[in-house]
Symmetry: C2
Subunit: 586 residues, 2 copies
């Protein structure tokens, strides 16, 4: 009799003998009977030990404890209507055990599988027990389904999964590399790839035309809550493509994934917004469009305002923007607003001005600055209603946007304006090609140095680099960057210009990317691509707010593995072979 999964033991099996294997989730003794909830990969099934069925099985069942691994044979019996459990697939039946074998005993685990509020370090140390939780198993299943749907779609589109090296070369652009010392060349190092960017472009030069890979990438950065030292990228590159083609294909990819994984039909074309519009209307480059609360521009209004704070900001080439929070005037006390002010100060704002709209008019500490004419102009601009709360930030543009953009997201959460079942995919386009890095006093690539500028902007690379727009597109889901891509530079001369704009000397460029520029000279097709963050994708589709929940064996925020205890010391012998010495006081 071959083994059957718990979820397959349903009404149609009544009267049949079945063979189950799994873990004891729970044991209850009741009136001389023993009930066991048996857990396997697919769910739970109730097994009953009854002296009238098998006294011997009952005797063994009596010795069984939580998390024992058992093998059970028995007969499927319909449950009384009152006992039906609609929460599990096998909830209409139970199995009367004729035989039970204990395959493995279990010590009492360090925490109960069903508990939810366990200290995370304990969960990570005993990850193999934590992974017994339904929630985590469901997340890993969704992760697998996304992975599979992506592969199935790309296969239909003639893309091939091609592996690129993990032992790669250290490059100075971008984040900090993880290094791997070489033994054959002591004192030299490989680097773990931050992305397969160069390799996938070279595959295009090879004429392989359609590449993809679901691949680990590495960044040795200080970790934030949503970062891991190794993360997984859905990496795609295509030849003979352009922005419209890439956007069309990726919309179809996303539609396929959402249908397969969530059963949802996502309408296309997806909305598009330019980078400048996104910043202006939402304050961020990855707007969450599931709710309103757009930023409204008061710069024009402020020019002539008698409220000096506003006027001064505009005169100093800054901005004044406001968010009108509908019907929220009663929901925020002065104390609550103080907290909002503290929040925006995190983003550099010097303060948060506010007004409440009462039956009598505007109320709040700055109300006195607006006479009737100004109030009426303000009303015209913001179109506010009675009971609205208006929040203002006046500062330089970057501060206004960061403060209000993040405040906007916070308000939506606080006021429960977000429909969790909604998936708003939008494209953000027309990105700047370069960003000015004040610390380094030079331009850096907003995406990466291989992103192409718009044709009409190429001339500005030398004259007005900050105005050059890129052939780049980000796909944003519910306020998170899900993926980003671009049409690449495929012309050696243009690539050289780009490195020049980035402040590379010819020598630096040749040493680091000479082989790539040479490669472009042997017949480079137009090509472009995209990379999705798989971990982020899984988080968004499973409603997880902790990246560690979507990775089977994650690292802590200190990049350590609490279960395996890595990193760790290595032997002097190992170091000697690599030509290295540890130079640190421990």
């Amino acid at each position: 009799m071959s083994r059957i999964y718990s979820n397959k033991v349903t009404l149609d099996k009544v009267g049949e003998s079945v063979h189950l294997q799994g873990w004891v989730q729970k044991r209850r003794d009741l009136g001389g009977l023993i009930f066991i909830d048996l857990r396997d990969l697919k769910g739970l099934v109730q097994v009953v030990f009854n002296p009238d069925v098998s006294a011997e099985a009952l005797k063994i069942a009596d010795t069984v404890r939580s998390e024992y691994v058992v093998s059970v044979k028995g007969e499927v019996v319909k449950r009384d209507d009152k006992q039906v459990n609609k929460n599990i697939e096998s909830g209409e039946i139970e199995v009367y055990a004729k035989e039970i074998e204990i395959l493995a005993k279990a010590k009492t685990p360090p925490f109960q599988i069903s508990e939810d509020n366990i200290n995370e370090d304990t969960r990570l140390k005993y990850r193999y027990i934590d992974l017994r939780r339904q929630k985590l198993q469901d997340i890993l299943r969704t992760r697998y389904q996304i992975n599979k749907a992506v592969r199935d779609f790309l296969d239909q589109e003639d893309f091939m999964d091609i592996e690129t090296p993990v032992l790669s070369k250290s490059t100075p652009e971008g984040a900090r590399d993880y290094l791997v010392p070489s033994r054959v060349y002591p004192g030299e190092f490989y680097a773990l790839p931050q992305s397969p960017q160069i390799y996938k472009q070279l595959l295009m030069l090879s004429g392989l035309e359609r590449y993809y890979q679901i691949v680990k990438c590495f960044r040795d950065e200080d970790l934030r809550a949503d970062r891991q030292p190794e993360f997984t990228q859905i990496d795609i590159e295509k030849s003979f493509t352009d922005i419209e083609d890439m956007i069309d294909m990726n919309e179809r990819l996303i539609q396929f994934v959402m249908k397969e994984v969530k059963g949802l039909e996502i309408k296309s074309p997806f909305p598009r917004i330019t980078y400048d519009d996104a910043m202006s209307r939402y304050g961020v480059d990855k707007p969450d469009t599931r709710f309103d609360l757009e930023l409204q521009d008061l710069s024009e209004f402020s020019k002539t305002s008698s409220f000096k704070v506003f006027k001064n900001a505009v005169e100093a080439n800054g901005l004044v923007k406001a968010i009108v929070v509908e019907g929220a005037s009663d929901k925020y006390s002065r104390k609550d607003i103080d907290k909002l002010e503290a929040f925006v100060k995190n983003y550099g704002a010097k303060g948060l001005a506010w007004l409440k709209v009462n039956e009598e008019g505007l109320q709040g500490p700055i109300a006195k600055f607006f006479d009737d004419a100004e109030t009426s102009k303000l009303q015209e601009t913001l179109n506010y209603q009675t009971n609205d709360l208006i929040l203002f930030v006046a500062d330089k543009a970057s501060v206004v946007h960061a403060a209000l953009g993040n405040l906007r997201n916070k308000l939506a959460k606080d006021l429960d304006l977000i429909d969790d079942e909604q998936y708003n995919f939008i494209w953000v386009t027309d990105w700047p090609l370069l960003e000015y890095d004040e610390e380094a006093d030079r331009y850096t690539a907003a995406h990466h140095p291989f992103t192409s500028p718009r044709k009409e902007d190429i001339e500005k690379l030398e004259t007005a680099p900050e105005e050059v727009k890129a052939n780049a597109y980000d796909i944003v889901l519910n306020g998170y960057e899900l993926g980003g891509g671009s049409i690449r530079i495929s012309d050696a001369e243009l690539q050289e210009k780009m490195f020049k704009a980035l402040g590379f000397t010819d020598e630096e460029r040749d040493r680091q990317f000479g082989f790539l520029i040479e490669a472009f000279q042997y017949g480079a097709p137009p090509h472009g691509g995209i990379a999705y963050g798989l971990d982020r994708f899984v988080m968004l589709l499973t409603g997880s707010d902790n990246i560690r929940d979507v990775i089977a064996f994650p690292k802590t925020q200190n990049a350590s593995d609490l279960m395996m205890q890595a990193p760790s010391d290595v032997s002097e012998e190992q170091l000697k072979e690599l030509g290295l010495k540890v130079d640190v006081e421990k």
Copy 2:
């Protein structure tokens, strides 16, 4: 008009307009016309530039050179019967170009794409050009097809692809680890995994039951022709399984792959052979059964032989074995046989005795040692025929097997006994659990320390470790180890015994594997698995004898990347952050 692949431009498109994009493989000028072989992902198509169709296109075509990237629009025309090219899918038509656009020019490449005998270092330096070759593209396509077939099969069988960490922990067992210095904990290191073995077993303890991954693994070993520092493993683990179940499932997996990739039906069950039999009959643990030439045991015969070399070998507890090479007496001159002798000396043999069977009887330097009675006994044992060549090695067992086992493979190749179209999958079972490592003066795990011993042999772990057989199985294809697996230890006590047999002190065991032994105490299901070498699989299915041909961006035998020039120096700053100093004279 959307772009069409070259292989789709066939007779049914005659009269239609098509849009092609690709590389100029070849240009020929002929009687005022220009012919271009246009190459794209799917093959070649002939484009004709004719002044009567478009003088302008002809003019542009005249400037085109090899490896230019072009976009062509034109009309599909049937070729004259005489011009039909059966070697390409579009060989019955040609395209009369109306428009051509040069998308990218190309310098003369460092070697011709069609050339086959290019120095490998040059090929590796210009890998992106080398990868334009049909042969390499076909190999990568086969690699992808194997990958996809494996995924499709395992998905049907309820397996989930689950990613395991690349930044892992250094362990002293097995090969040398690649290390990754930690910046957060200067002086400490991660290691790149040699396999996800421990992680996949922990997933079984988590109740995930069916795991797979196609995953990069790493070994910092001195490279042989068929090794790479990073290689790809098809890694599978299953709970509630046993040897028969694993063998059955893997036979179905292989049948599925062979059907999908090669269109071949492979019969099951596959033949099985024990390790001892494989060594005895083929001299190796991975026999190629596509040809005969089995090793024949002459130890009994030698006991009473008057040929001292044979007799002495047997009396010293050694062996005498022979290979009878049918009808080969004329094919090997004395000089040829000297070469064979030099060959077996590589495997430690002191010499290679031989006899040829003539019409008149045995001939050769040792013939004189055998009188009529002995000759007749030899004939009875070896059952040789006139014109056979008999090759003997007398030595200790390990030398006899290594020498004759490798000689057997060489003879089959030399004599062209191998059918390249044949795929002989066989299982090698009943492996020894432990091997004695003379240098370290202790036992090491023949597979790895997590392989379970046969139940009936557990007692011998302490008393006669060398006699303990493992629940292990290797799948061998045409004389190569394609994969290996085992039923694992799932009992903490037995795992402790195993570490003891391997010479671990309690302290060493606890420090290195304490968390694993603890894990086994929380309810460990019986489980087992297998890992296939994907690179090897691709080599065997594509007939490649160079592992670098089956990897998109391989390393040299010195583990260096000639294209990217890795490994390389890194900055003092990077090293300082890691708490490291290079300690080597350069």
